[in-house]
Symmetry: C2
């Protein structure tokens, strides 16, 4: 019975990694489509989001089955509950990739990236792909040092998000209202993506530490304190 259970948990983890890999592909394609006004690629992202949604639902169903049949307790229970949360965040990250693709399609054949912001948005896209790859690695190997990597990437994205607003609100901004709307929405999407990744990272830290409310600041300290998992069952 314990062996069956641990196989189920490995299955949960493998599925989270798989969904995270699909999200990485989606954000990579979406930001590339956005940068090059590639409407075909944008439509691919929009279509493929359904796969991410379906896999997230299937994972939720597996988690509920595990809870019902194997009635885990202690750390095992926390892993299953955290997986439900992580899948919701990954699904939301897929939605953001879809929103960026929709922005690209809506503007086509015009460029979706407003003049003067090309290099900033290209960089934000690259940072988001790195965020997504780092998150996949964290889900795969639970190396909590990657939480700090994610936090640093999130800071870089926040800086660029602010830079977009500074640019748009500066006196030499010559974009029309449409360009301003696009810049505002795209910047918000690209910045939110990393917020969701950090939220996932916190759930993974929670697995390691058992503390829902733990901020990533204190993760290193907590990791050092983490005793081997106990099994009350």
């Amino acid at each position: 019975m314990r062996e069956v259970f641990h196989q189920s948990l490995e299955d949960v983890q493998a599925r989270l990694v798989e969904i995270s890999e699909l999200v990485t592909v989606a954000i990579e394609k979406a930001t590339r489509a956005f940068g090059s006004s590639d409407v075909t690629l944008a439509e691919e992202v929009i279509e493929e989001d359904q796969v991410i949604d379906d896999k997230a639902i299937a994972l939720d169903e597996l988690a509920i089955q595990i809870l019902a049949r194997q009635q885990p307790v202690a750390r095992d229970l926390r892993i299953v509950v955290a997986a439900l949360r992580v899948s919701a965040s990954l699904e939301r990250m897929g939605d953001i990739a879809e929103h960026i693709a929709q922005l690209t399609r809506m503007r086509f054949p015009e460029r979706a990236i407003p003049k003067g912001l090309k290099s900033t948005f290209t960089k934000m896209g690259e940072l988001d792909v790195e965020v997504s790859r780092t998150l996949t690695e964290l889900l795969r190997n639970e190396d909590l040092s990657l939480v700090e990597t994610l936090r640093a990437l999130d800071d870089q994205l926040d800086d660029r998000h602010l830079a977009v607003f500074e640019k748009v609100l500066s006196e030499n901004w010559q974009g029309e209202a449409g360009a301003t709307v696009d810049a505002t929405l795209a910047s918000r999407y690209l910045e939110r993506f990393a917020d969701h990744a950090l939220s996932v990272a916190k759930k993974v830290a929670y697995l390691a530490t058992g503390d829902w409310t733990s901020d990533t600041d204190s993760i290193n300290a907590l990791v050092a304190e983490t005793a081997p998992a106990t099994d009350e069952g």
Copy 2:
């Protein structure tokens, strides 16, 4: 034991209703502060969001305790899992109220609502308060006819969200870039709020129907089919 369990479930429901009431207060205050550039009221919303966050975390902890100690199955298990999802959405709705308050504070002493959009944003705020009240009622009495009410309110908000973009992109829009940014962000927040409420409504429908993937379109049909809850435990 069964009695203890059902008391726990009632506790979960009462807490969801309480959080939903706090979210209603937050969105009512935030939209009022936004409309009247009331920075004191905006700061109240920002400060009080911590209460919503704390109550959501406490609810999650209660749900995990119930899973560990009472190991519910079948419909009872679905209720507990859905509660975890609902609390996450309610917390997010509180965050949106906070974002609207932050927008108000950031622009103070200037008006946060751009010229020409006052009546649209006032109406969107009223619709959001109605969304939040309807959701609270749905969580309290599980009257699934309210899901249709929420869907209709969401449609009205979507229409006004589009109207904001039409206005901003029209030739007679005279707002500067700052006004365009504010209009874009505020409209997105006010529209997202109802999306989250509909997402909660779907979880409640799932409780009644046992179908994660059920769309609210088919709720009435499913409700008619729903057999009394079985207890496999």
